[in-house]
Symmetry: C2
Subunit: 341 residues, 2 copies
């Protein structure tokens, strides 16, 4: 696509980490989507990523319509640099594109014994509480903390009841989804995973008002404001869609999509060894919690991804046929050999 070698390697790393960590919806399966956006001239493969405004601990970065996969690590490295000098660093990003998994970016901070924050807005698919209009993305937020003897605690979650990837799995399998995930165009709850295609919308975390969907909406709003209202990106229904066959709104309120990343030095608060020892103690206590089903232990945030990684590093990453076909199509398109059969 004309990316520099450095950018190509970095973008590939972000995608592969998603696949390794079991988040198949955000790995190489998306490659064809990025290529289509590039073909539609919505991704600039040679971006001049710039800092447009900054203080010692804050900055706004313009991604120059680059791949979010390279723009977000640029922003996080800037946040880390500020944190090294002043204790914390916070970067809001405009004019970017889909940044892959939030966890990748947060973990860049964790490697430096910092707490990592990463969030992004996304194509509008989610309706606020009481509405049947798609005004928000699945807007993930991620918080990551370095532990000692345990792997990092990584809270990496869509602020909708279910991530779009889970819906896609149900669509492919032709299976109904739980009530509380989606509504049809008229605002009736439905278990039809295809309802999104006929004007339906995803529901915020909580599902309905009685079960706290106004909280999911509030979290999603927080992500949208920090990522886009703060940086000068598009927000709410103006966020450009990820899919190339849908055109971005013709009345943009900003540039591209927005992210927000941050890093705080743990030793800006207490010695790192003390923090890690106590976080280990926290993890040990929660892992040994009494459970309703003795065979189903409490899962520490980040554990499922680590289990997937341990398995896939040994056994490889399974790809569904559709993804293999997509990748072989891309190989042909770019004149390189297909995947081994």
């Amino acid at each position: 696509m004309g990316c520099s070698n450095e950018h190509a390697v970095l973008a590939a790393d972000v995608l592969l980490q998603a696949d390794l960590r079991g988040i198949d919806s955000h790995g190489v399966a998306r490659l064809v989507g990025y290529v289509r956006l590039w073909e539609s001239k919505r991704i600039n493969t040679n971006p001049n990523i710039t800092i447009v405004h900054e203080t010692p601990t804050t900055a706004t970065v313009d991604g120059d319509a680059g791949l979010g996969l390279v723009v977000a690590p640029f922003a996080m490295r800037l946040a880390i640099k500020k944190a090294e000098q002043y204790g914390s660093g916070w970067v809001s990003v405009r004019n970017s594109n889909h940044f892959g998994i939030a966890g990748y970016h947060s973990l860049l901070a964790v490697e430096k014994d910092m707490i990592g924050f990463a969030m992004t807005n996304a194509s509008p698919l989610v309706a606020p509480t009481y509405s049947n209009e798609r005004l928000l993305g699945t807007n993930p937020m991620c918080y990551a903390f370095p532990a000692g003897k345990y792997p990092p605690v990584v809270v990496d979650m869509a602020t909708s009841a279910a991530a779009n990837g889970k819906l896609e799995i149900a669509q492919r399998a032709g299976k109904p989804v739980p009530e509380g995930w989606i509504q049809d165009a008229d605002g009736n709850y439905t278990t039809d995973p295809h309802a999104l295609k006929s004007g339906g919308s995803l529901l915020p975390l909580g599902g309905d008002k009685e079960h706290g969907s106004h909280k999911g909406f509030g979290l999603s709003a927080t992500v949208d404001i920090l990522s886009a209202v703060l940086s000068g990106a598009n927000y709410g229904p103006w966020v450009p869609p990820f899919v190339a066959f849908l055109q971005p709104p013709t009345d943009p309120v900003g540039l591209g999509i927005g992210h927000f990343v941050g890093a705080m030095r743990v030793d800006g608060f207490r010695p790192i060894d003390e923090f890690k020892a106590h976080l280990d103690n926290w993890i040990t206590r929660f892992k040994s919690a009494q459970t309703v089903d003795p065979d189903q232990k409490v899962i520490i945030p980040g554990e499922p991804e680590l289990e997937a990684e341990a398995d896939r590093k040994v056994n490889g990453i399974p790809l569904v046929d559709a993804v293999v076909e997509d990748l072989n199509g891309l190989a042909e398109r770019f004149g390189i050999g297909p995947l081994a059969p």
Copy 2:
């Protein structure tokens, strides 16, 4: 109780703001609870609040077992001072007590055209996903943003499916609560609002795994780690209970309860007028969203509190009889006159 005049006025202001904003569970209704904790020697009314560690933009504050109502504003003022100088400021707090409504503290930053963050851990009442053990508090998180022509956007939410205050309302009314709020001691969902008293627990936002309760658990964990593992306060099941008749654990892992507050200058990212104009546009768009029921508009986070405030500033704050009795009991206890009948 022996507080300085300055502390008494500040603490009263925090409680009154809760009542004004319609959050009755966190207003003067709690006064008797604070007094009981003081009588149990768990609240120090003359705390020497100190900064025990800091960098230019981070700090850990020791509340010296003071009222959270005065310790948290101290911490937020420190965060604001750091933000004025360096763009952002972040303060983790140990050795504190219940801090009232999170929104009060976040709004201190908003007054300075900053984005405000406030969270706290709390008495263990909530079970993680799959568990029937109370290991977390309702651990609220709050994000507050200054708007232009509109009032601030204030996302102020317990990370449990329902705040304890809502449960108390159902208990007093003798009414069942929705499924997904609580489980009994064996981990069965129940609609009995009294189930908490017989070993039950509140559920994280999401309710069950299928509806994303692991996300509510992850958010609650984030609050616990930022507030307590980072500061040196007690976390998880070691958090001292709010009620004086329950003794704190005899094997504490830290000091008191913990908070985490932060402030970021909006103009550390973009000019404040631009930000406010776009946040106004965001609010206008969401307020005019298409809704399922034409009479039920989308509610902007913070709106219900503002409506309560507008009403109560004119019509007064209604107090239930039990609270009036408590307050008159306190008046007698401290040798001052009762409330006017």
